[in-house]
């Protein structure tokens, strides 16, 4: 029998359940631009459409400093604290 040492970080990923899909959209929706080219064009149009269909919903716009790095902790907390939904414009 051979015994080897584990080359990984040995951690078991945390399992998170997906939040149940809400019946209706109420409260605030965050639109997050990861600053890939033309992401803001998509989000502008989404904001317009959401405004037409869900006039009671508040739209908050956010931008990551760069698409090459994960969003800073403070930005993630800010989005989480002030919003009920997040729509993220991913890559180009």
């Amino acid at each position: 029998m051979t015994t080897i040492l584990d080359p990984t970080d040995e951690r078991v990923p945390v399992q998170r359940e997906i939040t149940p899909r809400p019946e209706s959209i109420k409260g605030a929706v965050a639109l997050l631009d990861i600053v890939k080219p033309r992401g803001e064009v998509l989000l502008d149009r989404l904001e317009e459409l959401l405004g037409e269909r869900l006039s009671a919903v508040q739209i908050n716009r956010y931008r990551k400093p760069t698409f090459t790095k994960p969003a800073p902790e403070a930005l993630r907390e800010e989005i989480n604290a002030a919003n009920d939904f997040v729509i993220e414009a991913l890559a180009d």
């Binding site: 029998m1 051979t2 015994t3 080897i4 040492l5 584990d6 080359p7 990984t8 970080d9 040995e10 951690r11 400093p65 760069t66 090459t68 790095k69 994960p70 890559a91």
Partner: protein, 519 residues
């Protein structure tokens, strides 16, 4: 005579230290949040704390679970953080909940494991008769749950820590009938090529290459933000086929790629397929047998091949970056197997890379670059002067990413000895080469407008709004000459240099990082 309880100091949820045992009669309760029996008895523990003069201590086994338990039962009893499980291990706990009553001298008087109603009732009668508990509301019996410190994987680590052994990694036993190589492929430890089984003997031998403590954390590797200990790096160096002498280089390279400036998270994740390219300078090159001459950028030399591979395997195995997961390169890139070479400093009249970057000539240094392709060959056998050859190199380098993409970020240029001799004939310095590249690649904005041949370049609608003066402005290939990083390597024969295309450069992407290699 009573058994003495091991003393300890743990912090509560507010970070306040609590020393055990106190100089009074006390109760120690080990629990874990996801144990239903612990959940059952926790209100009783709270009552021991709030309704008696007993000093109650409740070490919980996970930080998140402690918080949940406190909230669920509105606990005021000091819930202590034993998430590193050191105290649970020291008390050799197999099952939680475990209650230990000690006298004012710290001698054990009584203990309870799990929940058996009559035992608990007797226990309360003995130590807290003033508490009126409706025992009929409790079940007759509930088994306890396994202590996290008794989990075989965690227990092996805790035991190694307690005994001060250098190796703490989980041991994986491979059955005699199984093929160890196939096992490692199946576990996903490999980049696709066979890896060397990291037995304890090999890892211990690897660790002789450094003076560092095997448990020192040298970096945090994305995307899992996993701590890279010297031991874990050594295990991956064994997988890659490294010799012990090269371990300090692997460690320094991992430190370098895990800086915010280098941004290995983005370098790994990008669809562009970037990869670290590692360049070694200084005396260590000869000591570990780095190739900087014939085939320096290719196969055939153990140090070159295995150092680059060890770094990549560490990012894969420790950091958790795997193709299809957070590694999402569209085409992939052979440099993602390995890319490490050394500069032939002695062959060059120029300042070597590490000295240009602020290190002493006798420092051993690794510099990491985030590159997306290369080496792209520059074939020029006919230029006979410095300006002619540097111009020729510039024309080739204009193709980095796309010939019409100007104001590019970093590129790494590897000049071969024969090309170096041609440049030296005119006393060309590295700066002269950079200036010449920028000069010959400068194009007017007008020439860089997107057209029917290619949609890359200046947006045609934006160009239509620009003045003639602006359209005539000239833009060199690279944002600055300093983005062109130059080293010398290769064999004496062949008028072929090469260059690597960069990725997103600067603080918003990746910047080259140099680290001194410490033994």
């Amino acid at each position: 005579m009573s058994v003495s309880c091991s003393p300890f100091s743990l912090t509560d949820m507010r970070g306040n230290p609590h020393s055990y045992p106190p100089p009074t009669k006390s109760v120690l309760v080990f629990f874990k949040d996801d144990c239903p029996t612990c959940d059952l008895v926790m209100p009783l523990i709270e009552r021991l704390h709030s309704e008696t003069t007993l000093d109650v201590f409740a070490p919980g086994q996970t930080a998140v679970g402690n918080q949940a338990m406190v909230q669920r039962h509105e606990l005021t009893v000091p819930v202590l953080d034993d998430s590193d499980l050191k105290m649970s291990f020291a008390y050799d706990i197999e099952t939680v909940p475990l209650l230990i009553v000690a006298d004012a001298e710290g001698g054990e008087l009584d203990r309870l494991v799990g929940f058996e109603r009559t035992q608990w009732r007797d226990f309360f009668d003995r130590h807290a008769p003033q508490i009126d508990v409706d025992w009929n509301r409790f079940p007759d019996w509930r088994p306890g749950c396994g202590s996290l410190s008794a989990d075989p994987i965690v227990n092996a680590r805790l035991r190694a820590e307690a005994e001060g052994r250098p190796l703490r990694a989980r041991k994986l036993e491979i059955a005699a009938d199984d093929d160890v190589h196939e096992f490692m492929f199946d576990q996903g430890y490999s980049d696709g090529l066979p890896v060397v089984p990291p037995t304890a003997e090999r890892v211990l031998r690897m660790l002789t290459g450094t003076h560092r403590d095997p448990q020192q954390v040298v970096a945090t590797i994305p995307p899992n933000l996993a701590p890279a200990t010297v031991e874990k790096i050594a295990i991956n160096a064994v997988l890659a086929g490294c010799t012990a002498e090269t371990l300090p280089v692997v460690i320094a390279a991992i430190e370098a790629v895990c800086t915010d400036e280098f941004n290995i998270h983005g370098v790994t994740a990008t669809t562009m397929g970037a990869s670290p390219v590692m360049v070694l300078n200084g005396p260590i090159r000869d000591r570990i047998g780095m190739n900087m001459k014939l085939s320096a950028l290719g196969q055939g030399t153990r140090a070159n091949a295995t150092i680059g591979r060890a770094v990549r395997l560490a990012v894969r195995n420790i950091g958790g970056a795997r193709p299809g997961g957070t590694e999402r390169s569209t085409l992939g890139n052979p440099m993602k197997f390995t890319m490490c070479f050394a500069e032939w400093e002695e062959r060059s009249p120029w300042e070597p890379l590490h000295v240009e970057r602020g290190f002493a000539a006798d420092d051993s240094v690794v510099t990491v670059f985030a590159m997306t392709s290369g080496p792209s060959l520059i074939v020029d056998q006919t230029s006979r002067s410095g300006p002619q050859l540097a111009g020729s190199i510039g024309l080739c380098m204009e193709s980095a990413h796309h010939v019409k993409a100007h104001r590019s970020g970093d590129a790494l240029l590897v000049i071969s000895p024969e090309h170096l001799d041609t440049l030296s004939r005119d006393a060309y310095t590295k700066q002269d080469v950079r200036d010449r590249i920028q000069q010959v690649t400068s194009k007017s904005l007008r020439e860089l407008v997107a057209d029917d041949t290619s949609g890359v370049g200046l947006d045609a609608a934006a160009a239509a709004r620009m003045s003639d003066e602006k359209l005539n402005r000239r833009l060199p290939k690279f944002a600055t000459g300093d983005n062109i990083h130059i080293v010398v390597a290769g064999s004496e024969a062949g008028k072929f240099s090469g260059f690597f295309h960069g990725w997103a450069s600067g603080p918003m992407g990746s910047m080259p990082v140099s680290k001194k290699i410490e033994d």
